[in-house]
Amino acid sequence: MRIPCPVCGARPSEEFTYRGDARPVRPPMDSSDQGAWVDYLFFRDDERGRIKEQWQHTGGCRAWIVVDRDTATHAVHGSELARDAAEGGQA
């Protein structure tokens, strides 16, 4: 697979480290709702099709990125820096 790093351009997936599904939203830091934290940390849908996932370009620029990837075809539809996704997605 080739993963498009928003900083470095397309690089082989071996340069990246996988973290997981990017969609679960982290509860607010001061939240003490155990259920919400459990949902955030442990429950995943394992969907077929396009999902967003987190990778770090550990073998390159070290950026944390969010990749829009199809789990069935491996087609990659784009990527963005995790900090940009955080600003746009977690208001």
Binding site: M1, R2, P12, T17, R19, R26, P27, M29, D30, S31, S32, D33, Q34, W37, V38, Y40, L41, Q54, Q56, T58, R62, A63, W64, T73, H74, V76, L81, A82, R83, A85, A86, E87
Partner: protein, 985 residues
């Protein structure tokens, strides 16, 4: 007929072909010394020496001869080399002949001609389709002991050597705008025009020469022999800067995102690698891998001398080898004519058996002595180690020593299929052709079912234009050559000749016959995927390249369907065999993993250090003196450090530079304890949790200046902590004004421990007040040595002694260590290693990787007090889950032998006394253990249920693996100086 002279009957022609007769090469085959020429393959050289018999079949050991000239050869599998350079299972057709080559046939005993297992023709009934599934089903226990060894001995494909491979292999990466796979007329044309337009082109072909089918057929281009055109194009390609021509390179795998795997075989050279695995990222791919001829299976079609017609022509035209003296050509299409023409012109008597009732000899054959039997098929053959005659369906018996079979063509759709695309059946050409592409690729020429040279050249040019256009470059005016092929027309479908199906071979290597496929059908294994696994058709080393399509047609007929409806099996990489050495490259033995060296690596090695692997690091375990064992050295080093002073390389600890006004806030969020009040010049111990509440890592972080911190991590977790901090700052809290960077490699770290450590450091830093008042426990200072070399001093202790950690830029690490030993000679300064470090930290009750194993909580470690209740931090909420907060969880305890002095082993389970030794009574484990030279007994750290309340209790430490069962007393984990007066003194 007149008698023929020796030169007229010798297999090798005296002229013609693309071999270099001025460069003879000597090789051996099964111990016989033979000669070939530069340009030969092992197969052509064997045939030039009159050798057809090249192997025996996998199951029934029938004699088998050379059949093909490419990767479709199912029979002639060779073991090459001697000693530790042995490679089994190579098709002789893909082995370039080299001087001194040593080849052996396989799968025969005691010799190729007299194979004892074939002596009884009774073997075949023992191996019907599905025999694995039904013959040896019961009792299951017999499989390992009886059936499998027997089958393996009977089968025995070539054996590899068990000696280490002495050759080198490499891996590498390539990038191109256009990858062209196959250098026949289509591939050459595509590469040429794309290269002329300035595209980065890679042209790869498994052959040693460019040209593909043009090397083996008597085509002309622009009125000249095609080989002249090939030479001209090859010359121009070599001159084009942006074109890379890669002969001897097999593209074997087509992966996601247009990444392809290829293996390049390299000529043997003193300094070179033997093979190179390339990972090619291609903008576009042109598949021009050609087509492979298929057989017409007929009863007894597996005798040596029965070959594919394309191979017969190739051996004749390219390698100047007559594969027989009296030939029968059996065809269902016009390729029979060109075969008959080429053979007849080489002085070989030819009889043409054409299955088509309306076959007419074309004008090209007028004047040649070719007898035609039209509308006929071969129904049997005779001959022991070589075919001697065939019988036609009208009873005609034709003596011969060569049968050339032309059954039509199968485009090489394998790479296309590997992308996930589905090849489709072309009912006009009677073959699978590429379907809708799923990646940026196209198939051209014979690879797309367009079999003429004219079509190949047009397709290749078109592929180049597409690639040029896709990059927005100007499309050149095309000027294509005009080729002329031997006569070709449509053939008829003839998938096999019925009759004795159990002797009609579809897969000669695995002995799969038409009868087997029909049996699979009768027993319900009707989908091609089931049929493949039930009969093993296509599972031999040629991967079905020989007879798979015929087998599918047999199944289609049995089911009353068309081949299109039956479909084809899925092709998977690799297309041709790839040696494991090439895939592994340099990743073996010492270079299997990279090696991380501390700045004090050579320094320690010079002092006789014994090293241990710690992740990728090499760390010094101890510095044995003459006659000392590792243990003795470690205990000496421990005692000397506790009584005098020792220095230890701790450079491998992770170090992270943290800068910015929000640094205390970041520390507060990633550590469980509070950081807002840490003053400049002070260090603090910190505990980091994962989101799930388990302990991730520990270490000290020091405040170097306002907004500037120096974090340390454990050696093992350093990369993980670094990524974690980057995650926090980039993804979770980009608003924090903090920057982090690993400085692990920048600083050499030396622990200086022991009662004399202050005196020693005072000599290094004479102008600095190191008194306890001025530089207390957990103090931090920054100084400059002579020449401005910066030095960071941390008063932290892992050993429990008065101790410091000194950091200098890594380049100065060895000199600093030398200087400390020199300055401390009269203070008793010695170097100590990881073992003494471990002994001392166990004595002190400090935790390390054995305790921080990813399953323990802060409370388990006795550090519940570090969990701040005044702030939020990562892992806070989930650490409070009932199972995590359960007070009866195993807690960190110290353990010592209850009586006597038996060794306690790390990894032992802790059980109460007086119970059975079962998991039901398991109450914890031993995480670290050592002999304590300080206390003169064995001690350990472990985790025990309700451990905090069980001080003084005796439990058992049981190690069932190593057979140990020891009574141990539960004590505080802080064996040594529990009040900390030494480290604070």
């Amino acid at each position: 007929m007149r008698d023929l002279s020796d030169t007229e009957t010798a297999p090798r022609l005296t002229q013609g072909g693309r071999i270099d007769r001025s460069r003879p090469l000597t090789f051996t085959f099964d111990g016989r010394t033979l000669t070939g020429f530069a340009g030969d393959t092992l197969a052509s050289a064997l045939l030039a020496n009159g050798i057809h018999l090249a192997g025996r079949s996998f199951k029934v050991h029938r004699p088998r001869g050379l059949v093909g000239h490419r990767e479709n050869e199912p029979n002639a599998l060779m073991r090459l080399g001697t000693g530790d350079r042995l490679t089994p299972n190579l098709p002789a057709t893909l082995v370039e002949l080299t001087d001194g080559l040593v080849a052996e046939s396989q799968n025969r005993w005691p010799s190729l001609k007299y194979d004892l297992q074939a002596a009884s023709g009774l073997l075949k009934p023992m191996f019907p389709a599905g025999f694995y599934y039904k013959t040896f089903m019961w009792p299951a226990a017999f499989w390992e002991k009886l059936y499998e060894p027997a089958i393996r001995r009977a089968a025995g494909l070539g054996r590899a050597t068990t000696a280490p491979d002495p050759d080198r292999y490499e891996r590498g990466f390539k990038h191109c705008d256009l990858l062209v796979v196959g250098a026949g007329p289509a591939g050459l044309t595509a590469a040429l025009w794309a290269g002329r337009a300035g595209l980065h082109v890679i042209l790869a072909d498994q052959d040693s020469e460019l040209g593909g089918s043009l090397l083996t057929e008597r085509s002309t281009i622009d009125g000249e022999p095609a080989s002249l055109w090939v030479d001209r194009v090859a010359g121009e390609l070599a001159r084009l800067d942006t074109v890379e021509v890669m002969p001897r390179t097999s593209v074997f795998g087509y992966y996601d995102h247009n990444i392809l795997g290829a293996v390049e075989r390299l000529p043997t050279a003193e300094h070179g690698a033997r093979e190179r695995y390339w990972r090619i990222e291609a903008g576009r791919v042109t598949l021009a891998a050609g087509a492979l001829e298929r057989p017409i299976p007929f009863p007894d079609n597996d005798r040596p001398g029965i070959m594919l017609a394309s191979a017969v022509r190739a051996y004749l035209n390219r390698w100047a080898v007559r594969t027989g003296t009296r030939a029968v050509v059996f065809a269902n299409n016009d390729d029979g004519f060109s075969t008959a023409r080429d053979l007849s012109q080489a002085g070989i008597a030819v009889t043409l058996v054409d299955s088509r009732a309306d076959a007419e000899l074309p004008r090209a054959l007028t004047g040649l002595e070719v007898t035609l039997h039209r509308g006929r098929t071969i129904v049997g053959s005779k001959g022991r180690h070589r075919v001697s005659a065939v019988t036609l369906d009208d009873g005609t018996r034709l003596p011969c020593d060569l049968v050339a079979v032309a059954g039509g063509w199968n485009p090489v759709v394998n790479l296309h299929s590997q992308t996930g695309a589905r090849p489709r059946w072309d009912s006009i050409r009677d073959c699978f052709v590429p379907g809708q592409p799923r990646q940026n690729e196209s198939s051209v020429g014979a690879c797309a079912g367009r079999f003429t040279t004219a079509e190949a050249i047009q397709d290749g040019a078109h592929a180049a234009v597409e690639a040029i256009r896709a990059l927005g470059k100007p499309v050149p005016e095309l000027d294509l050559p005009v080729p002329e092929d031997p006569p070709a027309g449509r053939g008829e479908a003839l998938w096999y000749v019925g009759g004795r199906d159990s002797h009609t071979f579809l897969d000669p290597q695995h002995d799969v016959t038409v009868a087997d496929v029909k049996l699979a059908h009768r027993e319900g294994y009707r989908s091609v995927e089931h049929m493949k696994r039930y009969t093993t058709l296509g599972m031999a080393t040629d991967q079905g390249r020989f007879g798979n399509v015929n087998g599918m047609a047999v199944m289609a007929e049995a089911r009353g369907l068309s081949v299109a409806e039956v479909g084809t099996t899925t092709f998977r990489p690799p297309y041709t065999p790839v040696s494991v050495g090439a895939l592994a490259g340099r990743k073996r033995q010492r270079t299997f993993m990279p090696l991380r060296r501390s700045p004090l690596h050579d320094w320690a090695a010079d002092r006789g250090a014994i090293f241990a692997e710690a992740g990728l690091w090499q760390r010094s375990r101890a510095f044995p003196q003459a006659g000392e064992s590792l243990r003795e050295a470690a205990f000496r080093e421990t005692t000397q450090t506790r009584t005098h002073v020792g220095i230890c390389d701790v450079s491998t600890l992770g170090k992270i530079d943290i800068q910015g006004p929000d640094a205390p806030e970041l520390l507060n969020r990633v550590y469980t304890n509070g950081w807002k009040r840490l003053a400049v010049g002070r260090a603090r111990y910190g505990l980091m949790l994962r989101e799930d509440g388990h302990v991730m890592d520990d270490g000290t972080t020091s405040c170097l200046a306002e907004g500037h911190y120096h974090m340390t991590t454990t050696t093992g977790q350093a990369p993980k902590v670094m990524s974690h901090l980057e995650w926090c700052l980039q993804a979770l809290w980009p608003e924090l004004d903090v920057q982090v960077q690993s400085v692990t490699d920048q600083w050499a770290g030396l622990a200086v421990a022991g009662p004399n450590s202050r005196a020693l450091l005072q000599r290094l830093l004479p102008g600095v007040d190191l008194s306890n008042a001025a530089f207390p426990f957990m103090g931090v200072g920054r100084y400059a040595l002579a020449g401005g070399v910066p030095l960071r001093l941390f008063r932290i202790s892992f050993s429990g002694e008065l101790a410091y950690e000194v950091n200098v830029p890594a380049d100065y690490g060895p000199a600093l260590a030398d200087k400390l030993l020199e300055l401390g000679e009269d203070l008793g300064a010695i170097p100590y290693g990881l073992e003494a470090l471990d002994v001392m930290r166990i004595e002190k009750g400090h935790v390390t990787a054995g305790e921080l194993d990813g399953r323990t909580t802060a409370a388990d470690l006795g550090m519940a007090g570090l969990m701040s209740s005044k702030k939020d931090f990562i892992g806070r909420v989930l650490a409070q889950r009932p199972g995590m907060a359960d007070p009866s969880r195993p807690r960190l305890v110290g353990l010592q032998c209850a009586d006597g002095d038996e060794r306690i082993r790390a990894g032992s389970h802790l059980l109460p006394t007086g119970t059975q030794t079962t998991i039901d009574f398991d109450e914890g484990w031993v995480s670290s253990a050592t002999w304590s030279p300080t206390f003169g007994r064995h001690i350990a750290l472990g985790f025990l249920k309700n451990g905090g309340e069980r001080m003084g209790e005796v439990v058992r430490a049981v190690d069932l693996v190593r057979g140990h069962d020891v009574q141990v007393e539960v004590v505080s984990p802080h064996f040594y100086d529990p009040e900390g007066t030494r480290q604070r003194g």
